[in-house]
């Protein structure tokens, strides 16, 4: 299975998003590079609104992810509750 990845700017909002993604995707690898945080996983990764809201302690719209996003890889599926990255093979 190919790796999906999600790269965020290394800042105070992303810190909580990364915590949420780690909670919901225990298999992910998190790599810290200058100014950015890269998360990778085999085949699939999900960012759940509920978990991020819990970590941030406030309402969070999934589309807000764009404010801290650097790059991503995989097929994207986004709705009101989650952003999902996946490869079929």
């Amino acid at each position: 299975m190919s790796k999906v990845y999600l790269i965020l700017q290394d800042n105070d909002v992303s810190r909580f998003i990364v915590e949420a993604v780690e909670d919901d995707n225990p298999e992910i690898t998190v790599i810290y590079q200058p100014a950015m945080i890269r998360m990778e996983a085999e085949g699939q990764m999900v960012v759940n609104r509920e978990t991020v809201e819990e970590k941030l302690g406030r309402d969070w719209d999934v589309q807000e992810l764009h404010l801290n996003l650097v790059s991503l890889g995989g097929n994207v599926d986004e709705d009101d509750d989650k952003l999902e990255l996946s490869w079929a093979v």
């Binding site: 790796k3 200058p34 100014a35 995989g74 994207v76 709705d79 490869w87």
Partner: protein
């Protein structure tokens, strides 16, 4: 009763597809005249979907927030003498190359997407192209604003639009985009949304920008990541475009494959500039070009092509050559610029001993064997007061317009050279990839504006090279060009740091 909030899927439907209308008295074919001539067959435009389901209202809201964050940082950079915080004044030369070579491409992308955004029959595609067009305009504007403070302190930033249109090495990025924009609308999307966004910008705007941060350049990393946050959307669009075209009709598969082959190769040639920026122009290193290529093309691109295999799409032609070239191109490019440092709009230099060791470590198969000896020779000549500058004008590849500097991957000690004849004229190429592209569309590429040919034809002023550099390119000779050592940039830096 308060109206229920629309969910994302319904909102996307209402604010994109439902904005379309039927044509009652105009012929659809006349309204979208470019849609068919490339041979692409679209049976159902409604199958086009933006996976982010971004609508105009959300687009403005989040883009405005991105801009507010970005401009707060630009202000802070200026107010706090951000230019003094870069790792080494050599670093700023990467920014000069960015402004003259890359930012004008953002403007071309803006124009290109505005054009194709009008030409597609499907409303989903039109809305996505409209947003991307506005994004690209934002990118060129933010880049100009981010880099303009450097113009107060360093040479080479003063006339970047003029230089982009004329300078020999800048014809490489310029001709890439000219080529894409003079294709049909679907080729443009594959070229830019796939090759440029998915392969190229990810390498430029992720590891290189992380490198900018590592070298203390607050403005560049911030505009870079802000732009890349839009480009993550563009990459996703690029992937959706390809899937959409492949799902619409089986006849589209060979056409799309041909474009992937062409634009992958064009993108790789253009990336040799980025490879050199990463390996030679970032004094503080994050990762080598080879490592970046492995993560952002071999791994990420490999995943993409595995996913596309179900449609009958294979890896781009000559991906095997490129896999070998990752060990070579950055060294070949920087050596070429070093040798033509008198004719470049930024400074060049011999890597420090520590940097040479880093290159040996990162490129154990090639650096000591092929490239280190050249730098040892350059060091010796420099020590003798004979800094080497090549006086002959280089031969350029007719397709990618890069000087003949790439070597044959079967025999990396020898230059790679190909040629073909068309209507009695001989044309020269750096590779099979570039030669194939020419042979497929010779009538297009015989029109290439090749800077060296133009100089010899007397179309760039002159007759001597310094006149061309000064009058035609608008270089400030003795300030913008030549070695970093002894440059006014270096002199000023020493003064600031000793004060």
């Amino acid at each position: 009763m308060a109206a229920k909030k629309l969910n994302l899927k319904d909102k996307y439907k209402l604010l994109t597809r439902d904005l379309d209308w039927e044509f009652s008295y105009e012929d659809r074919k006349e309204a979208f005249p470019y849609e068919e001539f490339e041979g692409i067959k679209i049976t159902d435009w409604s199958k086009w979907e933006d996976p982010f389901r971004l609508t105009m209202d959300a687009y403005w809201k989040y883009q405005a927030e991105k801009e507010k964050k970005l401009y707060a940082i630009f202000d802070a950079f200026q107010q706090n003498n951000g230019h003094l915080n870069v790792s080494d004044p050599r670093y700023v030369n990467a920014v000069k190359l960015f402004l003259t070579g890359v930012s004008p491409l953002e403007y071309q992308a803006y124009q290109g997407f505005a054009h194709v955004g009008r030409q597609f029959g499907g409303v989903g595609a039109r809305v996505a192209c409209q947003m991307q067009s506005i994004d690209e305009l934002r990118h060129v504007q933010t880049q100009v604003h981010a880099m303009s403070p450097y113009n107060k302190f360093f040479d080479g930033f003063h006339d970047w639009t003029h230089m982009h249109d004329r300078v020999w090495y800048l014809s490489v990025p310029k001709s890439f985009f000219d080529d894409a924009r003079t294709g049909g609308p679907f080729e443009f999307l594959v070229a830019i949304s796939f090759s440029f966004e998915y392969v190229l910008t990810n390498l430029l705007f992720v590891p290189f920008m992380s490198g900018a941060a590592h070298n203390g350049d607050l403005n560049t990393v911030t505009f870079g990541f802000s732009a890349q946050s839009d480009e993550a959307r563009h990459m996703t669009l690029g992937l959706e475009v390809i899937k959409f075209l492949l799902e619409q009709h089986e006849d589209n598969v060979p056409i799309v494959q041909k474009w992937i082959d062409k634009w992958f190769w064009r993108g790789c040639r253009l990336l040799s500039l980025v490879g050199m920026m990463m390996d030679y122009m970032l004094p503080n290193k994050v990762m080598s070009w080879k490592e970046a290529w492995e993560v952002y093309f071999e791994e990420a691109g490999g995943a993409l092509f595995k996913d596309l295999a179900r449609y009958g799409i294979r890896m781009p032609k000559y991906a095997d050559v490129v896999e070998k070239e990752k060990e070579h191109v950055s060294h070949q490019a920087w050596w070429t610029f070093y040798a033509y440092g008198h004719a470049a709009g930024f400074h060049t230099w011999i890597p420090t001993d520590k940097e040479l060791d880093w290159l040996s470590e990162k490129y154990p198969e090639t650096f000591d064997k092929y490239y280190r000896p050249r730098w040892e020779l350059a060091k010796k000549l420099e020590a003798e007061g004979k800094r080497f500058y090549s006086q002959a004008l280089p031969q350029l590849c007719t397709t990618c317009q890069v000087p003949m500097m790439f070597t044959d991957m079967e025999n990396p000690g020898e230059l790679s050279y190909r040629s073909t004849e068309y209507k009695g004229e001989k044309y020269h190429f750096c590779s099979d990839g570039c030669c194939d592209i020419f042979k497929d569309e010779p009538e297009k590429y015989v029109q290439s504006w090749l800077p060296v040919h133009q100089i010899f034809q007397g179309n760039c002023g002159g007759p001597d090279v310094p006149d061309i550099l000064k009058d035609f390119y608008h270089f400030n000779l003795g300030a913008d060009n030549l070695d970093m050592k002894g440059s006014p940039d270096e002199e000023r830096w020493k003064q600031w740091k000793s004060a």
